[in-house]
Symmetry: C2
């Protein structure tokens, strides 16, 4: 079995060797631009980890690792159009740099390239990988739609929100782990446990992201905090605050979210969030999903070395500094 | 073997039974809207014809027929955003009716649904169908990019233009025929001949479309002619006119294409096109591609019944009234 560091090196190598050089240049250059900006490469790492947990051959998991990461980057291209996002990973988004039409079409092409890689999976596992990938891709689209729907609504329930982040974020993390397990020909029951582990991990990961955007240490978090507040994003924190607030505090929240000066707005919303104990509420929720993930981890009955590998990645994702 | 009419009925039935009813409604309702507008359903018919030519079982070709038509409709959703197109098949485009974000995301979802259908192909043929579908989907994206690139350029060569319509239109017609043949387990050599037949048929089909948009009988053509001229579209006619024109006539063409009154513009461009013999030039080119298609048809050595089936569809596509 390989260590997380070894797997990470494999992933880096995999994407360094990725060739996106074909004509027409106006189609492929933006893809190269998007893929060469890196990012955490978390999902392909998950594929390789899922594979190593069941003593698979790394090479068998490579097509899914490549396909899933390219798919993930495709969704970012299209999401950035829908969200009118100017910056991604410190660079102008494809949408901003090349325009929406390029972001649409280069994105579509990335989706095909993702399938091309998926289809290089060993014939023995191809159909299982494809079914998982199709299902996951569709759910990610559904999650993005729900996210956009919520923007238009005044009230969103906690359960609805969790379901949205499950679809938008968690299924791809879970699917990555399971794809690796499929490539290792793991038993179906184990695959499903690993998948559920991934779902709960993914949800706690997204909740942590929500928490960090508001309460994170900018130096550690790596980006400016308060952005979700400034943009009135319906995060777990936002929804929980409205759920807990009495009628008078709801009015205060409305007033705060309507402030036009960003600094005043962030500071006033933070005051109300603190008054409503939103930080411990969110931490409690993250703990709950981590515990559920742990239950599936226990059910997998991995040997200590493998267990610590999964725990290491869980810690990385959900114990980031607040 | 089934007749074209029987196959057409199968196709109609196939799409009448297509269920697109899932949540979130804002994602799936636009898909249902797009898919229920019909259209010629030419590509699934091609899949079934390709299948019957090699005595396949119709059911084996159904997944590809569905997948390819849904893929085709997905490309229309995204193309309509890029082309800012208000109307498709007599109805507002998804882009106009629901906005660009919905057209992007519902389109992406249709692409996944297309793959879901493709993946229902019999395991014996799945990998061949997938490779063909991946290759075709990528080429269609490349064709759309070239089409957009050409809009920004002043000079486009005939060869470049033919290559663009090969990618944007012909490969999907050729791919449809070959997918049907794959589902019938036709020999590779025959599949390739049928594919090349489809490429040449597809190119002549698109050239005929160019011709009809300018010289068609509106009553027979079913839509207003002259639209390509009004929008300065770089069609075969446009490119050929500039290729044949001497320096003085090029200036006349520039002046004509710069007229702002649509009727004056169409009438003046038509005058110049007639002066340059563009109609017979285009008809000659269509004939050439039909002849090349015929050569591949001959090479297939089909029995008379099957041959006449292919000829019937060729006639339908390329002998439309001018």
């Amino acid at each position: 079995m390989q260590s997380i560091e070894q797997l990470q090196n494999k992933v880096v190598e995999l994407f360094n060797n990725l060739q996106i050089d074909r004509n027409p240049e106006n189609l492929y250059q933006p893809i190269d631009y998007a893929m060469s900006q890196g990012g955490k490469r978390l999902r392909p790492l998950m594929v390789l980890i899922g594979n190593q947990l069941f003593d698979g051959r790394i090479e068998d998991a490579m097509p899914a690792a490549l396909g899933i990461e390219i798919f993930h980057n495709f969704t970012l291209l299209h999401d950035d159009i829908m969200d009118n996002a100017p910056i991604r990973r410190g660079f102008p988004t494809v949408f901003k740099k090349y325009g929406p039409n390029t972001a649409i079409l280069s994105g579509d092409t990335m989706f095909v390239i993702a399938y091309e890689h998926i289809c290089k999976s060993h014939p023995d596992i191809l159909i299982d990988i494809l079914h998982l990938f199709n299902k996951t891709a569709r759910e990610v689209c559904e999650g993005q739609q729900l996210d956009m729907d919520f923007e238009q609504r005044t009230i969103v329930g906690i359960e609805e929100y969790i379901d949205m982040i499950r679809l938008k974020t968690a299924v791809l993390i879970a699917g990555s782990l399971e794809a690796g397990a499929i490539a290792a020909k793991a038993p179906l029951a184990d695959r499903k446990k690993l998948y559920e582990y991934g779902i709960n991990l993914g949800i706690s990961f997204q909740l942590m992201d929500d928490l960090l955007d508001t309460f994170g240490d900018e130096k550690v978090f790596g980006k400016k905090t308060g952005n979700d507040i400034v943009t009135n994003k319906k995060t777990f924190l936002y929804i929980k605050a409205y759920e807990k607030a009495d009628a008078a505090t709801k009015i205060e929240l409305d007033l705060a979210f309507n402030l036009t000066n960003p600094e005043q707005k962030v500071s006033r919303v933070l005051e109300l969030f603190n008054q409503l104990n939103i930080k411990p509420e969110t931490e409690f929720m993250i703990e709950q999903y981590k515990n559920m993930a742990d239950n599936f981890l226990n059910a997998l009955q991995l040997n200590p070395l493998k267990r610590s590998m999964l725990e290491e990645i869980t810690t990385k994702l959900t114990n980031r500094k607040v």
